[in-house]
């Protein structure tokens, strides 16, 4: 009895198709001179254009659809034309299937187009459905753009190869340099490295190498942790609310600064790792805002991450020698104590603001 109920509910919600204006989707990937992808047209719209409901009972069955398949193919072929740099790219339609979108079932037909040479720009002449539904829109998804085709006038898409790796690296560098919360977190963790605890007492470090090793551990731990969460968050495997993440990142800055004041945890690499996981989520939201090319996702992820590491490295390479140089001075102590206090305070303000926002 319970099982029947569940099925009934599922069936009911499945029939609540959205009432939305008419769209068709043409998705194409460009590979040299070949374009390949799929065209999705709502079955309901095809009925409006071609009359698929053979028995006029208000429904289109699979049989009625397959019977009409040649007519549909002819309709598409006569009203869709793609040109690459002005030269026609003949279309070939494959075996159609169905797909379900929010407003019902769509006719999904694979499309290939072969251009005479690898195009730099594509021109789409799309004339489907406008004569039966003036609000229909043809949406062409190609080369990370979406073109809106609305009345049969040809539309041009520039194919830009260079949404490049380099751009993402630079974005990564930029975003860590303007990410004061990330920088302060890292700097707070590094600060005590030049004045470590040995045998229960704090003393200035003896060698740059020993300092360097500890800082390397901290930075590596931070890098690994935020890289992991950057990746899994960007691809959507894990998704945390941004208000929570931003507040937590601010709190992590407080934690890192406070750790310097109370000298609680010496294994700051562990702090860097544990709290670094949070920072990765923060970077991810920045990266997602930049917009990711769908066919170069891993590349752009790596590029951005590399940029973050390079930026981080630059900051460390500047701060560390300076800190080492002044480690025996009062100035260092002032920076360590007053600086950490100031950062802790700033972190508290951020935490409050981000929590309340």
């Amino acid at each position: 009895m319970k099982r029947l109920l569940v099925i009934a509910i599922v069936f009911t919600s499945a029939t609540a198709w959205a009432h939305k204006p008419s769209d068709a989707h043409l998705r194409l990937a460009v590979s040299g001179e070949t374009l390949s992808g799929r065209l999705d047209i709502a079955v309901r719209d095809l009925d409006g254009a071609l009359g698929l409901d053979g028995d006029l009972d208000g429904t289109v069955t699979w049989r009625e659809l397959t019977t009409a398949a040649p007519r549909i193919a002819a309709y598409v072929e006569s009203r869709l034309a793609i040109a690459g740099d002005g030269a026609p790219c003949p279309l070939a339609l494959g075996a159609p299937a169905l797909t379900d979108l929010s407003d019902g079932a769509y006719w999904a037909v694979p499309i290939t187009a072969r251009c005479p040479r690898a195009p730099e720009a594509l021109t789409f002449s799309y004339r489907l459905l406008f004569d039966v539904d003036a609000q229909h829109r043809g949406l062409v998804h190609v080369a990370d753009q979406t073109l809106i085709l609305r009345d049969g006038t040809p539309v041009r898409a520039q194919l830009d190869e260079t949404t490049s790796f380099g751009t993402f690296v630079l974005e990564g560098v930029w975003h860590i340099w303007i990410g004061f919360d990330h920088i302060l977190f890292l700097v707070c963790l590094i600060l005590p490295a030049v004045f470590p605890r040995r045998g229960g007492r704090w003393q200035p470090a003896e060698s740059l190498r020993e300092v360097g090793r500890e800082v390397l551990e901290i930075v590596t731990a931070f890098t690994l942790a935020h890289s992991i969460t950057l990746v899994i968050s960007t691809v959507g495997l894990v998704s945390l609310p941004s208000r929570f993440i931003e507040t937590a990142i601010a709190a992590s800055v407080v934690a890192a600064a406070a750790n310097n004041l109370v000298r609680g945890i010496d294994a700051r690499w562990a702090v860097a790792f544990a709290l670094g996981l949070l920072h990765g989520f923060g970077f991810s939201s920045v990266l997602l805002d930049l917009g990711l090319p769908s066919d170069q996702l891993v590349g752009s992820l790596l590029g951005f991450n590399l940029g973050v590491e390079l930026g981080q490295l630059a900051i460390v390479m500047v701060t560390l020698p300076l800190l080492y140089w002044i480690r025996r001075t009062l100035a260092y102590q002032a920076i360590l104590w007053a600086g950490s206090s100031a950062v802790a305070l700033l972190g508290l303000v951020w935490t409050y603001e981000r929590f309340v926002a």
Binding site: A18, G48, T59, T146, I232, G236, S294
Partner: protein, 403 residues
């Protein structure tokens, strides 16, 4: 060196974890970003793939005649009107596109035949092209001063656009031709906005009581107008009563149903909203209120309803539509708790339409986003019109506006 080993283990695991994440990304990412839904091939020929509007013989014949004689505007107008009726009954925007396509031959003319003007204005109104609609209607009433429907439509569009002078003109004209109930219902929102909700309410309820034989649509409209006045007076119980009566007359009255949902949400009866809107998720304006109700009752931000709503918003953005700015703003404010975005949407919405609901929304989002300056247009409007509305007053007080 236990510490070192532990360090190495953790960092080693971290490196492995990163490698794993990247590998997963390479597999998962394409399916997430490619955004092409999975395909399937049915095996049963009798499986219903889509429900389509039934083509009745009369309509098919009319379309065939129109195809062979495309200059027969009266056929086209009749077919378009039928589609607009279907749009009103089902709230399905595809019918608007169909109606527009039927009138394609005359659509871009500055001076089409008068019948076309009215239908074109109605379609434009539904697509929220109020400027276009007003142009058509002004022209139409100049051509046909005795067209009551034209005046009625003009009154509504003018009210939505904040042009109260023209709205009153047309209300008076329509009232002269169609009677007191039409006059009172048409004037009701205008009087309410002018700060006379009490007298307007008295007038309309008396007139309605005396118009028991009036057509259902008219009575439904009057009841909805009465409900809006009741809300302005802070009488949400009375409003709910009137709206339920309107829905009893016409269960497909989307406007009344949405207004009732708003009343229930404002009076903390969110649970009732779910039953009120059950089975009507197809309609965007209903879906958003369902999502808000779910959020209020369950604190839910990630449900099937909210996912569906986000899909709709994305689909509209993809095609460049901005028809549902009000609903998007409501969703951003109430469910996503994104006050700045809600405010931006509310401001964009105010540029398009200036009903009381839009004023309330702009004021509310300005409060939520802690940006009183953004509410300046609403404050100016409230001062100019002398409107007194219970819900708007709350926001205005929070904005520090003294009256």
């Amino acid at each position: 060196m236990k510490g070192t080993r532990r360090k190495l283990v953790v960092l080693g695991l971290g490196a492995v974890g990163l490698a794993g994440a990247l590998t997963l990304a390479a597999f998962v990412a394409p399916s997430r970003n490619a955004a092409a839904a999975a395909t399937y091939v049915p095996t049963d020929g009798a499986q219903v793939i889509a429900r389509v509007p039934v083509r009745d013989a009369g309509e098919l014949a009319a379309r065939r005649s129109l195809a062979s004689s495309p200059e027969r505007v009266e056929l086209a107008v009749e077919l378009a009107r039928a589609d607009i009726r279907r749009y009103r009954a089902e709230s399905d925007p595809r019918y608007l596109g169909r109606a527009q396509a039927t009138l394609a031959r005359w659509w871009d003319l500055a001076e089409p035949p008068a019948d076309v003007l009215l239908v074109r204005a109605t379609i434009r109104q539904s697509l929220h092209d109020f400027t276009g609609a007003r142009g058509d209607l002004d022209r139409l009433v100049a051509l046909r001063p005795d067209d009551a429907q034209a005046h009625l439509t003009r009154a509504v569009v003018a009210t939505v656009s904040g042009d109260y002078v023209r709205a009153r003109e047309s209300c008076a004209a329509a009232g002269r031709m169609l009677g007191m109930l039409v006059a009172a219902s048409c004037d009701a929102p205008l009087d309410g906005i002018a700060g006379h909700a009490d007298t307007a309410y008295a007038r309309l309820s008396t007139t309605l009581a005396q118009s028991r034989r009036a057509a259902r649509e008219l009575r439904g409209w009057a009841l909805t107008a009465l409900a809006e006045l009741a809300i302005m007076r802070g009488q949400t119980d009375a409003a709910a009563l009137h709206l339920r009566a309107a829905l009893a007359l016409d269960a497909d009255d989307t406007y009344a149903r949405n207004l009732l949902a708003d009343v229930l949400l404002a009076t903390h009866h969110a649970a009732e909203v779910s039953s009120l809107l059950a089975g009507r998720e197809s309609v965007d304006s209903h879906l958003v209120r369902l999502a808000i109700a779910e959020h209020q009752t369950r604190g839910a931000r990630e449900t099937a309803t909210t996912r569906a709503m986000r899909e709709r918003i994305e689909a509209a953005a993809l095609r460049g539509d901005r028809v549902h700015l009000r609903e998007e703003a409501m969703f951003a404010l109430a469910v996503e708790s994104d006050a700045p975005r809600a405010l931006k949407l509310a401001r964009d919405n105010w540029n398009v339409q200036k009903e009381l609901a839009d004023a309330r929304l702009l004021a509310e989002t300005a409060v939520a986003a802690n940006d009183p300056d953004a509410a300046a247009p609403v404050i100016a409007w409230a001062r100019k019109t002398s409107v007194r509305d219970a819900w708007l007053e709350r926001s205005l007080t929070q904005l520090g506006v003294t009256r």
